[in-house]
Amino acid sequence: MSDKIFHPAREAHEIFEASRLTGDATLEDLESIRHSTSVYVYQAPVRIWHWVNALAITVLCVTGYLIGRPLPTMQIAEAYDQFVMGYVRFAHFAAAMILTVGFFGRIYWAFVGNSHARQMFYVPIFNPRFWRELLWELRWYMFLEKHPKKYVGHNPLAHVAMFCFMTLGLTFMIGTGWALYAEGAGQGSLPDTAMGWLLGLVQNSQRLHTLHHLGMWAIVIFMIIHIYAAIREDIMSRQSMVSTMISGHRMFKDDRID
């Protein structure tokens, strides 16, 4: 324990207890909290990924829905001069490719970026204190706790949501999506070589379509919760939320160390 952040009125283990428990706060972070009340959390590549990803997902959800339930029949021109469904599908595929490249870039950044860039990719399920903190955060959302805690990266609840909906969810959507794309690309194509085995596993493409479609709704539900929680936390918690994903800095509203 660095004596720099030792406060004489507190026991050592109480200092920034919550921050340390989330697992990603380094000593430097704790020091930063103490004197600058701002931590540089999200590096530029993470922020760029977040917004590109958000845009791609929005496009994917809208166009994906329209692929499952196409727009009413339009007679703008002869069929050879009209490409409405074609453009909808093109937008879907283009956004999906951007999302895929972005996701791989994000995984790469987990290796070379700062410690916060890694948080989304694992959940410390074997740490009992993580579960206790998760429960605590749940209580905060159930209005059973009066004051929120400080977190540098994701709070435990957000951490689990990020892992399930983004790390696992995006993997699922990218996997099933490319398996579906492989159907049009044809056997022996690169998408088919990479993901075609998934269709072999699910057997019926109609089933694969349904799974991909349900995945979309899971992502939509995540979006609702994510946007609501970000805004709510921005207002009610003790740190910045929305602006952090723009500037990268997590700013803290008080200097209490609990």
Binding site: G68, T73, Y80, F143, L199, I224, I225, Y228
Partner: protein
């Protein structure tokens, strides 16, 4: 093996001229996607190789595969291949019956051990020790296992043998089981469809008899030459799909114009088969051309993919009428509502706290 005649011998005996024989070779080469250089190779193989015996057994099925098979567009394909097969054993088409038929089966197995092809139409039900399908006084599953034991390869004809079809649809009371789940130690080629296209069936058989090997298979064990693309990929209505021009209701103006049947539940985009290229009944038509969507009959569990007339599959776990949009949309609405309530309570709490502090 010297006593076994060649394919060519059989054909000539059937009264087929050499000219017709060469036509048949050309047609087969084209159907299999082979170049002109293969025509003499097919001809040579058929002239010189002893014919491969085929045993054709029937389990739980409706005989639509056989019906389709004997309507192969090119009469020669039907006559030639069928006569070669019926020489051995096919309880639907053979002249013999009863004990004589069963003896013929046993003879063929004994005589050509390890050299015959077993063609299976239908599938064995496994519940109640297989009592739901009795052939020659015994459960079909026993005949299947017996015939498969010394087979060189197995052809699973149709959706029944390949995937289970209607008798295996949920809740599958007889536990009808596709062939590859019963026989696991033999090369199996699946030729799904309900029924499969006649030309596809004769093409597959001819390929195996001629080249003495299985055709190239896809991941699901289907011959890649006929099942590597979806109906949708080669559908003549595809331009209307890309244009976003769909039939909205049966018999509307768009239906008369021949627009895409996607919204009417056409399973063309999820079905691998050759209907849109080979077509049916001598190339006359296929379901989509006749104004009805594809029902996906050559896909695994096609009876359990909801209505033939819905684009989105019903997900029965969430109620009979629930599809992905209804399930997902309801969940999203519930979460959205919960978020709104949560936001309201949060605001109230915050106001309350401010009052207390003030």
């Amino acid at each position: 093996m010297s006593t076994i005649e060649t394919f060519y011998d059989v054909m000539r005996r059937q009264g087929i001229t050499r000219r017709s024989f060469m036509k048949y070779c050309s047609l087969t080469a084209a159907a299999l996607g082979l170049g002109p250089a293969y025509v003499p190779k097919i001809a040579e193989a058929m002239e010189t190789k002893p014919r491969t015996p085929v045993i054709w057994v029937h389990g739980l099925e409706c005989t639509c595969c056989s019906e389709s098979f004997i309507r192969s567009a090119h009469p020669l394909a039907k006559d030639v291949v069928l006569s070669m097969i019926s020489l051995d054993y096919d309880d639907t088409l053979m002249a013999a019956a009863g004990t004589a038929a069963e003896a013929a089966l046993q003879d063929t197995i004994e005589k050509y051990k390890g050299n015959y092809i077993l063609a299976v139409e239908g599938n064995p039900p496994l519940n109640e020790d297989g009592m739901f399908c009795i052939v020659g006084g015994k459960p079909f599953v026993e005949q299947l296992k017996h015939a498969a034991e010394h087979a060189k390869a197995i052809i699973s004809w149709g959706a029944c043998a390949s995937y289970g079809c209607v008798q295996a649809a949920a809740p599958n009371p007889t536990r009808a089981t596709p062939v590859h789940k019963v026989i696991t130690d033999k090369p199996i080629i699946k030729v799904p469809g309900c029924p499969p296209i006649a030309e596809v069936m004769t093409g597959v058989i001819t390929y195996m008899l001629t080249f003495d090997r299985l055709p190239e298979l896809d991941r699901q064990g289907r011959p890649a030459m006929f099942y590597s693309q979806r109906i949708h990929d080669k559908c003549y209505r595809r331009p209307h799909f890309d244009a976003g021009q769909f039939v909205e209701h049966w018999d509307d103006e768009y239906a008369r114009k021949g627009y895409c049947l996607y919204k009417m539940g056409c399973k063309g985009p999820t079905t691998y088969n050759a209907c849109s290229t080979v077509r049916w009944n001598d190339g006359v038509s296929f379901p989509i051309q006749s104004g009805h969507g594809c029902i996906g009959c050559s896909e695994d569990g096609f009876w359990d993919q909801g209505s033939f007339y819905d684009r989105l599959t019903n997900i029965k776990q969430f109620g009979i009428e629930a599809n992905a949009d209804k399930v997902g949309g309801t969940a999203a609405a519930v979460v959205g509502g919960a978020v709104a309530v949560h936001a309201a309570v949060s605001a109230l709490k915050r106001a309350q706290k401010k009052n207390e502090e003030a």
